[in-house]
Amino acid sequence: MQLEQNSRTEELLFYVLAAAGGLVTVVGLAAALFMEHSGHVVTGMNNQVVWGMPHVFAIFLIVAASGVLNVASIGSVFGKVMYKARAPLSGLLALVMLAAGLMVIMLDLGRADRLVVAMTHFNPSSVFGWNVILYPGFFAIVGLYLWTLMDRKMNPYYKPAGLAAFIWRLLLTTGTGSIFGFLVARQAYQSAVIAPMFIIMSFAWGLAVFMIVQKSMFAWNGMTVHPAIRQRMKNLLGTFVAAVFYFVLVYHLTNIYFAKQTAFEQFILLSGGIFPTLFWGGYVFLGTIVPLLLLYVPDLNKIRGSVFLAALLVIVGAFSLLYVFIIGGQVYPLDIFPGMQVSSSFFDGKIDSYSPSLPEILLGLGGFGLAFTATAVGVRVLKFMPQDDIAKLENCGHMLD
């Protein structure tokens, strides 16, 4: 009797959560419709800051979508048994996050009604154009990969499918990074280091998302992640977070010493108001230093929920970094006449300001709503819960080191 009572409350709670996620999605869609109808005049974006809050959300979702698949790749491509149990969940998250990211970016288009045009007209020299091929390809390959993982008949093919998915996701994130990496016009972009930086970012952010979802699913079912598994995953997250920091460091150093963008770097790292604050406070302190301490200082690490908190903070850091990278990179004026002081009616030479409007933020959150709802429904109807066979793991020697 008691058990039945519990499951009924649990069921109710599930529907409430799913409905809440659905509501956030619907509000996001309504915000997009409003933007579409009124024009981008209702956003904070303008002719200088052409990409705003929706792009921060969308790029986070797309980059993390590719990264979250890494968990599956470690299992299938690199043969780690512990990660293989997590492959289906990893694939599901990759699919829903990519779908959510694409939804946000598509609905922000000036002519979102022309989605068919985007699909039928293709410019091979455009990085965006490549992405139009990379995204559907990702859905197809990861879909196939999930099939090989979840259907016993298809199971023999999971290794090649996993390898294909691994390669494709590297291409996908290279494509996302190259959207910025090949832009010669603005000082913040055009750097060969951006594509690899995006790949390593995807590792860290995707794993953080995965660990948050995994922890929530286990907690929902009244279970805890085995300490040895927690230990391994938190070490991997720490490694990725440190690697992202290394790439961010290299990116800024190349800008300063190689590309001589000292004025821009001065702005973004020291004098630019919100941007240095977000960079040092949001990304470096909250998103890098604190998580690393939580993950590696034994006393802190022992506290319950410290790994969960670290993963959450990594995502806070991700948003700070993306905001600085995308918005900060655009508010800084273009250097049309190097060495000259310029002024014009079009705000040449002026540092622009950007304040996101409510519809933009709601659209971005709508993407999160969609990812949340789709994940919640997915894990409820299908078997995505990681099943750890501890005895087998110990046999393989996976739990020893």
């Binding site: 022309r114 045009v117 410019n123 016009a185």
Partner: protein, 247 residues
């Protein structure tokens, strides 16, 4: 300005047709409708790759504070701004005031789409809406522009504007609309009629010379051969169609 293009080949159309050939026919048959006259016309051959339109701007003649070119552009292209935030308004051509901090030298110049031979906007456009005509004019095909603004990220001259608000007062020959990106077209509707861009025509100092860079006999080609000129952001090797003197 030289008239480098072959008038008999390009032909005159629309209202111009009424003004020339149309008048003769209309005189013969006074009851004839305008539409029937234009039906009798044969279409023009279109943009030719033997031509490359360009503009030479002499900044030594360009007066600080004068915006005759900007006004002419707005009139010609029907740009009437109603957006509250000026940063969201369209500017196809703008005046930039330059000052060299090292020696205090000041000058003024008009800046617009540079009609590059290797345009970054065309490279990055996912649908091919950003395009370069055979005669070198860089345009946005609004029929397939999805409004992603990637071209605005890629343009080193900040030459493009995004239409942030619905429009109603377009000029019939210059369609523009919500959610698409746009920029200077070299007044393609005038160039196709054998006229020069509105800005070049309006400049009180005659500082803007328009013509065919490929025609060695054109004024622009001859001056470029004789006199010093520069491309803005020449380091990017975009081979711009708009060249400047005196900067």
């Amino acid at each position: 300005m030289n008239e480098p293009q072959d008038k008999s080949r390009r032909g005159f159309i629309g209202t111009a047709a009424v003004g020339t050939a149309g008048l003769g026919i209309a005189a013969l048959a006074p009851g004839l409708h305008l539409i029937q006259v234009s039906q009798a016309d044969t279409p023009t051959q279109g943009a030719s790759s033997t031509v490359r339109w360009g503009m030479l701007i002499d900044t030594t003649k360009c007066a600080s504070g004068c915006d005759a070119c900007v006004k002419a552009c707005n009139t010609e292209n029907g740009i009437v701004e109603t957006v509250k935030d000026a940063r969201q308004g369209a500017q196809w051509i703008r005046k930039i005031e330059l000052k060299d901090p090292k020696n205090g030298r000041e000058h003024s110049l008009p800046m617009m789409c540079q009609h590059c031979a290797n345009p970054p906007c065309v490279d990055v456009c996912p649908t091919g809406a950003s395009m370069k005509r055979a005669d070198g004019i860089v345009l946005v095909d609004r029929h397939i522009c999805i409004g992603c603004r990637y071209c605005m990220m890629a343009c080193p001259y900040k030459a493009r504007s995004f239409v942030h608000q619905p429009l109603t007062e377009q000029n019939p020959e210059v369609p523009r609309g919500l959610g698409c990106v746009e920029s200077c077209t070299f007044c393609v509707q005038r160039v196709d009629k054998g006229l020069k861009p509105a800005c070049a025509e309006a400049c009180p100092e005659g500082a803007m010379t328009f013509g065919d860079l490929n025609d060695p006999n054109s004024e622009i080609a001859q001056r470029l051969a004789r006199e010093a000129s520069t491309q803005v952001r020449a380091d990017l090797k975009l081979n711009t169609g708009v060249r400047y003197q005196g900067i």
